[in-house]
């Protein structure tokens, strides 16, 4: 299965991945409306690593685990694994009880600003290919097979 991997030596911490993630998961799919009117939570988020010489960053999103704790913890069956093994959230069934947030070891699930459901990375399965990877100015995140050479 292909997942998105971040490379700390390349990430600029610019935040473009978050911008494009919000846009791709907005209703309007319009970058300006998505940010000015819809207030979407991005499925990917930048973390800063303090190191003496210079700040390093990396972008993190759902790892689509083989044995996902969030699916186990979900009381409504909203969090499920689809046929391509992508962990997805069904907005209609989710009541934002945040049991998934309680158990996700990566902290990759966030409550929506409207508090009605949660947001997480779905590998842009509907868009076609992950917009964060496509729009990273420095190829700091890549969509790779889990046993690809680069990860060794």
């Amino acid at each position: 299965m292909k997942r998105i991997y971040a490379f700390e030596d390349k990430c600029l911490g610019c935040g473009l991945c978050e911008v494009y993630c919000r846009t791709a998961h907005s209703k309007s799919k319009d970058i300006i409306k998505a940010h000015k009117e819809e207030n979407i939570v991005s499925g990917i988020s930048i973390e800063e690593i303090m190191s003496p010489k210079s700040a390093f960053y990396f972008a993190l999103q759902c790892r689509h685990c083989k044995d996902p704790k969030c699916v186990k913890a979900c009381i409504s069956g909203a969090m499920y694994k689809d046929e391509n093994d992508i962990v997805r959230n069904n907005k209609d069934k989710c009541v934002a009880c945040l049991s998934c947030v309680l158990v996700c070891p990566f902290g990759a699930i966030k409550k929506n600003t409207d508090g009605k459901a949660v947001s997480k990375c779905d590998l842009c399965v509907e868009v076609g290919s992950p917009v964060c990877v496509e729009n990273c100015p420095n190829e700091a995140i890549k969509l790779l097979d889990e046993d690809s050479e680069i990860l060794k």
Binding site: G13, L16, S54, N135, P137, N138, E139
Partner: protein
């Protein structure tokens, strides 16, 4: 002290496009953009902007434009805005005005005043889609003639040649004035393209020895990083006598850029200013140059061609002829528009001559001396596109060096502030967060794309001229015609006027 120098640029932010994503704030190393927490809007400080376009390019909603700061000075053809601002700066700093890149003054660009020939009927084009188009060149010294022994076997021993698949090389940019990632990109691009990149006067980093066969190691007056393995690491050695942007003077890399990586490569103490003296202190005449050339040949067991790079100055023709007679394998001529990381603005703007004129006169002089065929000529400063390459070869160059074009391919936006060392594109800087912005995996591909595209265009143009090998274009001045040039310029260039 009051700063009388006005802002150079003005940032225009389209409020209904800006989504306060703060990408520009995080990406501007000059701290132009800042986030106003209280009003939740992003604002800009015009005074710090150098118009490097980092924010414009990365802004996801294209909400930013930058314009020249709209401030009119009283009309005065003599005291122009630039000259007044220079005085404000020097009255405040009391120092030499530093500038970067090549001569920006509106002197005529002769490339744009020469037109190329094409075949019609009598001399048919050659179809680049069907016939091989050869752009390979061999740079190095050639014997006067080849001799065969009785049994018909070649008796003459050929001096070493550098084989270039494309007559374009990446010119000298020292390790330290540009970042490690920039060097890696140039090296990997050179390797994939089958051409060479020049280390510049900052030595060669240990990790890049593996790109040796696509490297030209430079020996400049500072002798930074020069030792036996360094000389033998590359495909050729280039003695840097001069540089187009700053003929006659040396170079200065400020100490703060000399971190442990740069100091290790240059073999100078950490944090010390790296100063290349104006002359080589062991070359005060042409015969001293010959001694340096042959000591380098000895050090490399005569297995590496030795280039000599000079700035295009008034008597370049005589100098070049002298260099050829001093045993150089190739002569590099750097025009006054060649780029630099840092040089006094006055020198950059007033010293040196255009490469086109220098190249034409040098090629003609060497032919009159009958020695043109024995050395290679490489033109530099500044080649901006493949047509410039064709015209340089037609004027007599074997190959060209490009540097500014390569920087632009890697993201440079010619903001002319490399000397500040905070290049937002990760090129002319040693700041880790900025260097990281130049990802060699991406940038080397952009360089490969650029040069491959130019090579494809060169092949198309050659085909149009009915030529299927770049060898037949070198010095082929009938392929050029001048336009908007006076008699003397045509004469120096050695070309007819369009319509003749």
């Amino acid at each position: 002290m009051l700063n009388m120098v006005p802002s150079a640029f003005k940032i225009i932010r389209d409020e209904n496009k800006c989504i306060q994503c703060k990408v520009c704030v995080k990406q501007c190393a000059n701290l132009v953009h800042y986030y106003d927490e209280e009003k939740d809007i992003v604002r800009a400080d015009d005074t710090k902007c150098v118009c490097c376009h980092r924010c414009v390019v990365l802004c996801p909603t294209k909400a930013l434009t930058i314009i020249n700061y709209p401030l009119d000075y009283r009309q005065n053809a003599n005291w122009t805005k630039n000259y007044m601002d220079d005085i404000y700066r020097q009255a405040q700093s009391g120092g030499v005005l530093l500038a970067s890149m090549g001569n920006p003054k509106p002197f005529p660009v002769y490339w744009d005043k020469m037109l190329l020939n094409a075949s019609q009927v009598t001399n048919p084009s050659i179809d680049p889609l069907r016939e091989p188009m050869e752009t390979k060149v061999l740079i190095g010294r050639k014997p006067e003639k080849l001799e065969y022994d009785k049994k018909g076997k070649l008796a003459t021993k050929m001096p070493p040649q550098v084989e270039l698949k494309i007559p374009i090389m990446f010119s000298a940019m020292s390790y330290g004035s540009i970042s490690r990632n920039a060097h890696e990109s140039l090296a990997r691009a050179a390797e994939e393209l089958g051409i060479c990149y020049n280390t510049g006067e900052g030595g060669l980093n240990k990790d890049f020895y593996k790109y040796g066969k696509n490297t030209i190691v430079q020996v400049a007056s500072g002798r930074f990083g020069v030792y036996k393995d360094y000389l033998n690491a590359g495909a050729a050695v280039e003695i840097k006598i001069g540089q187009g942007a700053k003929p006659g003077i040396g170079g200065h890399l400020p100490g703060e850029k000399v971190d442990e990586d740069v100091s290790g490569t240059r073999m100078i103490p950490l944090g010390s200013d790296a100063i290349s003296p104006a002359p080589h202190h062991d070359i005060y005449s042409i015969e001293d140059l010959r001694q340096l050339i042959f000591s380098l040949k000895e050090a490399t067991a005569y297995k590496k061609p030795i280039f000599v790079k000079i700035a295009a100055v008034h008597n370049s023709a005589a100098i070049a002829s002298g260099i050829a007679r001093a045993g150089a394998d190739a002569i590099v001529i750097d025009g006054f528009r060649g780029g630099t990381g840092a040089a006094p603005a006055r020198i950059r703007d007033n010293v040196g001559i255009p490469i086109e004129l220098a190249l034409a006169s040098i090629d003609q002089r060497l032919r009159e001396e009958g020695i043109r065929n024995e050395v290679s000529l490489i033109a530099a400063g500044s080649i901006r596109n493949s047509a410039d390459v064709i015209k340089a070869v037609a004027l007599g160059a074997d190959a060209v060096y490009i540097a500014s074009a390569a920087l632009i391919a890697m993201g440079c936006h010619m903001c002319h502030s490399c000397s500040v060392g905070k290049c937002n594109w990760g090129i002319a800087t040693q700041v880790p967060e900025l260097v990281r912005r130049l990802n060699p995996d991406i940038m080397y591909k952009r360089l490969v794309n650029l040069v491959s595209a130019w090579n494809h265009e060169i092949q198309e143009i050659l085909g149009g001229m009915g030529i299927n090998a770049i060898d037949s274009l070198r010095g082929n001045k009938l392929m050029l015609r001048g336009i908007d040039l006076n008699e003397k310029e045509l004469e120096v260039l050695g070309i007819k006027h369009a319509g003749e």
